[in-house]
Symmetry: C2
Subunit: 294 residues, 2 copies
């Protein structure tokens, strides 16, 4: 069995590292705060002082970090992964970060004869804990096949989308569709409510036709029942739409409704709702209309 490393033991990373450990792998871990390191240490993980040390010890190094600058720093900053790498090792970045910069990172690692996969996930904390994450992978087929058994201890719906960056691209595409479908359901149910119809009956009438979606089913119901406890936090979806809009500018691409959805998230966050479930985006539309869905 390959010796593994895991850097970033937050609400996603900690249970994921735990599954790799439970599968019997030797696991070297590093995290900014030490609580999670001690917790995994009690289950057999080996704590490292920094990312460089993890890279020295492990053959395959997993990252699960909040955002693009965090990944850049952990890979190429002082005492970072790059300083500890040697040819033949593999970096697997499961963070959700910029697809454009991911390609740059892969090129810089390739110069050191180190392979990289980008492998962002969807499914959230529950998916991480229950090991049924959706994993969208970018990189070489051979590297993907090598790491695949490890992905299978973390998730279920595992797809090699394309070369380096394609996993991050798929994740951004996913977050665009989810945000814009929430916005669509919000406009439709608010229209129904303000026109005097019962949004619950409208949702029911629409479920069997072309308006059908997981979002209408799950998030539509949350809007009607006013259950905005996360779920997936607006603050995190703002980060993802920022990735979409930043990459769109770099790629010369216009995403008009993604821009509007981000502004609506911003408006809910401005009102203190950044920690609410993303279905609470409807609150921004509701304030404009002085009327609520539920």
């Amino acid at each position: 069995m390959a010796t593994l490393g895991f850097i970033g033991l937050g609400i996603m990373g900690k249970p994921m590292a735990g599954h790799l450990l439970a599968a019997g792998h030797t696991l070297h871990v590093h995290n900014r705060s030490l609580g999670a390191v001690r917790e995994l240490g009690a289950k057999g993980a080996r704590g490292c002082a920094n990312a460089k040390e993890v890279a020295q010890q492990a053959d395959i190094i997993f990252l699960m970090l909040p955002d693009t600058p965090d990944v850049a720093l952990v890979l190429f900053g002082p005492d970072g992964v790059a300083e500890g790498l040697s040819p033949g090792k593999t970096v697997v970045d499961m963070s959700s970060i910029s697809p454009v910069e991911t390609k740059e990172f892969a090129l810089r690692l390739a110069e050191r004869k180190v392979e990289m996969l980008d492998a962002p996930v969807s499914g959230g904390q529950v998916g991480a804990e229950q090991a049924n994450l959706t994993i969208m992978v970018g990189g070489k087929e051979a590297v993907f096949q090598q790491v695949r058994p490890l992905f299978e201890t973390l998730g279920k719906n595992i797809t090699l989308v394309g070369g380096n960056g394609a996993g991050q691209t798929a994740k951004v595409a996913n977050q665009i569709i989810v945000a814009l479908t929430i916005e669509a359901v919000g406009e439709a149910l608010l229209f129904a409510a303000k026109a005097g119809a019962d949004p619950a009956k409208v949702r029911q009438a629409l479920m069997g036709g072309f308006a059908q979606s997981r979002i209408l089913e799950v998030h539509g119901e949350r809007m009607i029942k006013r259950t905005f406890n996360p779920g997936f936090r607006i603050r995190l979806h703002q980060k993802d739409l920022n990735l979409a809009l930043t990459a769109a500018r770099q790629l010369s691409l216009s995403l008009p409704n993604t821009a509007t959805a981000q502004e609506l998230f911003n408006a809910v966050a401005a009102d203190g709702g950044g920690e609410l479930d993303h279905s609470a985006m409807v609150q921004a539309l509701e304030r404009l209309a002085r009327h609520t869905v539920g």
Copy 2:
């Protein structure tokens, strides 16, 4: 069996009237152009010179007309339905028109002791021909129960959404969600293509998660395979979003992404694409980005 009337024998109305006729009902019909009247006449329908005559002969009068002004004219114009009505009769408007004006029409008919149901459909020409339309109904429960067996000869997914206008409201909500989900899938697949990933693989990776929808499945594939033959024409979806935006202004309601979706339809129509399937909305995004999904 009640004596029925049917006004408006277009690509939707003609097959619908045919199903009522085939179920054994006496059917009085009227249509602006006479071809469809003669066609149904050969199957036993009785042609009438105008809408007034249909209303004089029939107990339940169905309408299937293009837009709000057509319904207003046929109901209340010269030689219109209102002139032929008597207390106890029922008007069933299956056109897709303004929910706000529908409530007005119902009030004006109620003054004559005539009941009205609004009962717009989704499912298009194929649904009309195969009698599996989705029917969204507004009106009184007792009237709905009376007409329900007739709806069952026309469609399958039949819902009483609420009082007068609620059927039209549900239909508008449906068309908002469909248009905005097409837009969402368009932004996401174009993002993927421009970032260098394979949109077909991205679509596949996203189908199992929260981005899942009938639109991603059906219209996403059309965008990738460039099969923009209708389906549902942009020209008709423009009409429906116009209903949404007009009603939103009347109701003091802001629908930002519906407005953008309409502008994108307008742009495709300006380029000669009004008769294409509504999934061709992606072409407007593609022109802005000078790049295509497929």
